[in-house]
Symmetry: C2
DNA sequence: GAAGCTGAGTTGGTATTTCCAAGTTAGCAT
DNA sequence: ATGCTAACTTGGAAATACCAACTCAGCTTC
């Protein structure tokens, strides 16, 4: 809970928010439309104290937002919705899914990425500034000038 | 260590291999050229027993391979090298890095993705079968026929 | 051929996380 | 006022992680 020092590695900073057990799966559920505590709990089978902790972390990090709502004749509650930052994780989850499909295959077949409009298959890949795919081997991770040696 | 049941979620299957503490960072180090136990230990600051465990998990999962080598006048050892499956994680790490740069910025500036050849900036994105970028909102996760309800 | 050095771990004890079951709380309905 | 339900809390046991110290194998040096 206490952040000791800011790490220059962007991956490590992402993992400070996302790297705990269950967190990615909570985000996946949110992405597929789950918004309520009990539903996260039921679909994931996660312990309630852990779920509370993960939801709080994600809300604090700006991945989820708490949104109040009230059904007729019920008391006011709040739901958890993805923010823009949360929606940006779609490509991370897509990459994880693609890797799992390829390298940890499921006996009953893969879960695929498709384009909503026409159902054509999609992949996650590196693209240049014109949106054209670049092969994996052409990619370099560059540190800006400010980056410490 | 004991896998209880095969989950149909590809993300969850990926995380069975990658989801423990330190694992992504070990892969990042491997991707940036680290191959030896002591070097992983020094750059990450991870406890040796945990590192042993993570390296074993990654080797068993086919992400890393142990490769024997011998320097002149030194005894034989083994190094850890990324396999093809491990190299395929580049896009996952790229996505994590991109998200961290954008949503958990570092005070001294981002670490960017660039094309090796000309240094032009790159992103991780969804692409169709012709390698053309598709906006995030057009992406759907599809379950194949075999997928249980 | 004994002693030292070094990389790659192992071991043992403590601290932190996670898990599970049971309990609590707030507001609406009866 | 009593019951119901979603959304948590709490307490204790189990699993993980952390840290320091130790081992072990083979090479080199004496």
């Amino acid at each position: 809970m206490i952040e000791v020092m800011e790490t220059p590695c962007s991956i490590a900073r992402s993992l400070e928010v996302l790297g705990e057990r269950w967190t990615f799966l909570v985000v996946r559920e949110a992405m597929s439309g789950t918004t309520r505590f009990a539903d996260f709990r039921a679909t994931l089978g996660v312990a309630p104290d852990i779920l509370t902790n993960r939801l709080n972390t994600l809300v604090e990090a700006g991945v989820l937002e708490r949104r109040p709502y009230q059904e007729e004749g019920k008391r006011a509650r709040h739901e958890y919705h993805l923010t823009e930052a949360g929606a940006d994780l779609r490509v991370v989850l897509g990459a994880l899914q693609q890797w799992g499909d390829e390298h940890r295959p499921y006996s009953l077949g893969p879960t695929l990425l498709r384009r909503s409009a026409d159902g054509r298959p999609l992949r996650v890949a590196f693209v240049d500034d014109e949106g054209r795919e670049v092969p994996r081997s052409d990619v370099r991770f560059v540190r800006t000038a400010a980056y410490p040696a």
